[in-house]
């Protein structure tokens, strides 16, 4: 018990310690930093895999530390946290490789990698948080550790974006904190693994519970980029590509959505939330976000911003799945947590590749780029098609379960949303793919060095791996090791409880 709790601490430390050491390293010690980065990433991944094995075998991991009587910091590992933690760890490993390649010559690398590691530690902390307070703590820390990454370039533009970012996220954090405090005051400490927490007060505090729900969802909704709280995300695109990749695929937005899942499922419970009539408005809001994000993405010429709006739209799928109050839809949502992460990170990796290798930032500059960088664009296309939801890519699987759940929950209108969103997705992704592959080149590009790959291998490899993952987790969605299976496990466990 105690020992297994320590495993969780080690998981956190495996990136925290390298991060702290990296801070103190001088700028030049490239090699040590690389070793630390990769070593930390690999260690974390293997520890998490160890943990998953344990969960499979029925171990229960918990780390509890009493802050104050009645107020504990709790880390524990349930399948849901394992899902998110694994996602973070895998993508962190890839992004680290990518970032090492991406930032090869740029200044402030120690700072960058330091915060980068902290950011991942915190994300995994969010995943492993066992009660709402612990979640809150890590959630706020995430803001702090990502801010320096957003403004890494230090340009006025980046600073402005950073300011907006802070405004949104800290404002959201404050609302969230108020909500959590209120709820704690009502019912005491809020563990994610105890059922029926709110049942005793439902009758007497209906209005309070509703208001708290609004506060909580508003709080995490900022990070999850729910409309109208999404404004920070496109602006945060000034960050370097690895940051956009990790931030937008995993860390920040997912933390928000993960929070929504935790709140709806583990704090309020589906039954209670629907009894209070909270889920339908939430599903409306997420649907609106899905459509709005896609619509705005259509109008962007800047590749990364288009991807950002796409993220806004796609991330809401997850929340939509949760809010439909049906296990199938929830499964779709959960699995989209992973799928969207991998797909979007692929896209960002590729966008970064283009920017770094050819200096391409705009979609209008991408004509014929696939001839110059076929592998990158192949990865990009797979990611994009996955986003649209073509079978057998990952995106389809999540969409499928979402749709099934929506129908099973008698909410056919969601299908219309899904369809519209798919069409919009196609509208903003397919032209990119088309132009990249079929149009002819308009601008001269730096010539390729003979005998070399189309881009630095550290930039190329992660995007290829993630693209491959997009394909494979879709293709093998029904196998036992797929995220889908894991999501099913989570939902089964939940429905058993």
């Amino acid at each position: 018990m105690n020992q297994s709790g320590n495993l969780l601490i080690f998981i956190l430390l495996s990136s925290l310690l390298p991060g702290l050491i990296i801070f103190s390293l001088p700028e030049k010690s490239h090699r040590i930093r690389t070793i630390l980065n990769l070593g930390g990433a690999l260690t974390k991944l293997s520890l998490i895999l160890l943990m998953i094995l344990g969960i499979y075998q029925g171990f229960y991991y918990e780390f509890r530390w009493t802050l104050f009587p009645g107020t504990d910091l709790v880390l524990n590992a349930d399948p849901l946290s394992a899902l998110f933690a694994t996602l973070s760890a895998v993508l962190w490993l890839l992004t680290t490789i990518y970032a090492i390649g991406y930032l090869e010559q740029s200044p402030n690398r120690s700072r960058f990698f330091g915060y980068f590691s902290l950011c991942v530690s915190v994300t995994v902390g969010i995943a492993l948080a066992g009660n709402l307070l612990t979640f809150l703590i890590f959630y706020e820390m995430l803001t702090l550790t990502t801010y320096p990454l957003v403004i890494h370039r230090g340009t006025p533009e980046a600073m402005a974006a950073g300011r907006v970012y802070l405004c949104y996220t800290l404002g959201g954090g404050a609302a969230f904190m108020a909500g959590v405090a209120w709820l704690t005051a009502l019912v005491g400490p809020l563990n994610f693994h105890v059922d029926g927490l709110l049942l005793p007060v439902v009758e007497t505090h209906r209005v309070s519970l509703t208001l708290i729900f609004i506060l909580l969802i508003g709080g995490v909704g900022v990070k999850a980029a729910l409309f109208p709280l999404h404004g920070w995300l496109p602006r945060a695109m000034v960050a370097p590509a690895p940051v956009s990749a990790l931030l937008h695929a995993v860390a920040v937005v997912k933390a928000g959505v993960f929070g929504i899942i935790r709140i709806v499922h583990d704090i309020y419970s589906i039954d209670l939330a629907s009894q209070l009539g909270l889920l339908f408005p939430l599903s409306l809001l997420t649907s609106l976000t899905i459509l709005y994000g896609s619509w705005r993405a259509l109008q962007e010429d800047d590749l990364k911003r288009r991807l950002a709006y796409s993220t806004i739209s796609q991330v809401s799928y997850i929340a939509l799945g949760i809010s439909l109050a049906h296990p199938l839809a929830a499964m779709g949502g959960l699995v989209h947590l992973v799928h969207q992460g991998i797909m979007k990170i692929t896209l960002f990796f590729c966008a970064g590749n283009l920017a770094e290798t050819l200096g391409i930032h705009r979609i209008s500059e991408m004509n014929g780029v696939a001839r110059r960088m076929p592998l990158t664009m192949a990865a990009f296309s797979i990611g994009a098609l996955g986003m649209i939801g073509l079978p057998p890519l990952a995106g389809f699987v999540s969409k499928w379960y979402l749709g099934l759940g929506a129908l099973a929950a008698d909410q056919g209108w969601v299908i219309v949303i899904l369809i519209t969103s798919t069409l919009l997705n196609a509208l903003y992704f397919l032209p990119i793919v088309h132009h990249a592959w079929f149009s002819s080149q308009e601008h001269p590009w730096p010539t390729r060095k003979a005998g070399k790959l189309e881009a630095h291998w550290m930039l190329l490899l992660p995007s290829l791996i993630t693209a491959f993952l997009v394909l494979i987790i879709g293709l093998l969605a029904n196998s036992e090791m797929s995220p889908m299976a894991w999501a099913r496990l989570i939902m089964n466990k939940e429905s058993l409880q």
């Binding site: 800290l170 405090a181 209120w182």
Partner: protein, 501 residues
């Protein structure tokens, strides 16, 4: 085995002796000062360590029991305050050890800075003695004396920089202090007239509400409010804190202010809680709320870093007052714990901020917020300290400030006083805004070549970073502190029940 209570007088003896010695031997003042603060630190830790299971303790000075003699009283709150003072003080001392030589070496000549160093140490040690005495005192009049020691030393320290502005500020501070002290003294007299007891615990048990007691408590409270610089009587604080020498600013903001607040907390949250009117709590809370907002807004419009930090103190003091009504209505110990946590984390963070600001000033020769770009390259540790301390002031996790705010927030909701919670959150957001004004420059490069003049000693940077990190990871000590405060709550409950402890 050492009797933990018998260590208590040494907390006064050591700084006093150190102060006298440092005055007597100016050339050795640094050494004496440092060793005294180190000894004080060790002692405070030792007492906390030894007495954690046996509090509350009492120590009869001169062997006389009350009502004749004076008791030193050690309970959880005392221990926390003592330890906080000792550790923060130690870090500030280490900073000062590097600070004065840096100033002396900076070319203005020995004329001003040499004597500053010579007098800083004795004054600071006397101040430390006063603070320790204040926290240990269990006697209404003795509290007055220690308050005086503290105030005089603080005023002298404020004026130490010798600049005109600081002299003006110090004079203002002196007058305020005197008014506050006198008010306190008058109140004490009135209370004594009513009860003929000076021993606090006995007084708390004996006291009955009557017009004399009302006026006594009112005078004591308002006097202390004046000294604590609660809005709208904070006017003296920013100039005094800003114009003082850096270590002094840190001492004033982190510790001295806490001394008078400690008394308010003692009286309002403990000894006289039984008879104080609910409306009074709301009044203090309301003023605290106003302080949070006003201080935050004023901090936002400052152009100088130290000024911003000073107004931040005004705002942060507001939190402490907001806690009072919550404590009054909260049954459990968590709101007391929250308040204590706010006090200590603010001490660490604010001291760290002032020290860091001092480093910046020393390096650039100014502390204009908008020209701080590039500070990160010149003073990496300092800028990190600024950021980390800022996080604690904002009350973001995992800082101690967060824990305090969180518990207070929960308690405010739990006791049905959600409006205080909203103020807390609004204050945090304001804090974010003004800290952000500083922190964002830590990530930008200087437009031109670094305009820095002087190298800042590593110890100076390290001590500010130490304090900042301490306030950030203060959660580690939470179980310890909570144990201390929880034991207080037990004795408080018996006090409220009317039983003399």
């Amino acid at each position: 085995m050492i009797e933990p209570a018998s260590l208590a007088p040494w907390l006064i003896i050591i700084p006093l002796a150190g102060g006298l010695l440092a005055f007597l031997l100016p050339s050795r003042s640094v050494l004496i000062g440092l060793s005294a603060t180190v000894a004080n630190g060790l002692l405070a830790l030792a007492i906390t360590f030894y007495s954690i299971n046996t509090i509350p303790l009492e120590y009869a000075l001169g062997g006389w029991p009350p009502p004749a003699g004076i008791l030193l009283r050690i309970d959880g709150l005392t221990l926390v305050m003592l330890t906080m003072t000792a550790i923060t003080g130690l870090a500030i001392s280490i900073y000062a050890q590097g600070y004065f030589p840096a100033r002396i070496g900076s070319g203005n000549g020995v004329s001003r800075h040499g004597p500053q160093q010579d007098f800083f140490w004795p004054l600071w040690l006397m101040l430390l003695a006063g603070l320790n005495g204040l926290f240990l005192a269990g006697d209404l009049f003795n509290l007055y004396v220690t308050l005086e020691v503290t105030a005089l030393a603080a005023v002298a320290l404020t004026a130490l920089s010798g600049k005109h502005t600081s002299e003006v500020a110090a004079l203002r501070y002196l007058l305020v202090s005197l008014l506050g002290s006198l008010s306190y003294l008058f109140g004490t007299v009135l209370l004594y007239r009513a009860c003929h007891v000076l021993h606090l615990a006995t007084l708390g048990a004996l006291i009955v509400s009557s017009p004399v007691v009302w006026s006594g408590l009112a005078l004591i409270t308002v006097g202390l409010l004046l000294k604590t610089a609660l809005f709208p009587m904070h006017f003296w604080l920013p100039p005094a804190h800003v114009n003082a020498l850096t270590p002094v600013s840190a001492i004033l903001s982190a510790l001295v202010i806490k001394a008078s607040f400690y008394l308010i907390f003692r009286f309002w949250g403990d000894v006289f809680m039984r008879i104080l009117p609910l409306g009074g709590y709301s009044l203090l809370g309301g003023l605290g709320a106003a302080a949070v907002l006003w201080g935050g807004i004023q901090a936002l419009r400052q152009k100088r870093l130290k000024m911003l930090i000073a107004y931040s103190t005004v705002a942060q003091l507001g939190y402490l007052f907001i806690a009072l009504p919550i404590i009054r209505h909260d049954a459990g110990p968590s709101s007391r714990f929250a308040l204590v946590y706010l006090i200590i984390s603010h001490a660490g963070a604010k001291a760290a901020m002032f020290l860091a600001a001092g480093n910046v000033f020393l390096h650039f020769g100014h502390d204009r917020i908008n020209e701080l770009a590039g500070v990160k390259d010149a003073l990496p540790m300092t800028s990190f300290a600024l950021a980390v301390a800022g996080v604690s002031l904002m009350g973001l996790p995992p800082s101690g400030g967060f824990i305090g705010k969180w518990l207070l927030l929960t308690a405010s909701f739990a006791s049905g006083q959600w409006w205080w919670g909203i103020i807390l959150i609004a204050g945090s957001l304001l804090a974010v805004a003004y800290i952000y004004r500083v922190v964002r420059h830590l990530f930008t490069k200087a437009p031109g070549p670094s305009s820095g003049k002087r190298q800042v000693a590593r110890t100076m940077e390290a001590s500010s970073l130490f304090l900042a990190v301490l306030s950030l990871v203060m959660g580690i000590f939470a179980p310890l502190v909570s144990k201390l405060i929880a034991s207080d709550a037990v004795s408080l409950a018996s006090l409220l029940a009317g039983v003399v402890p």
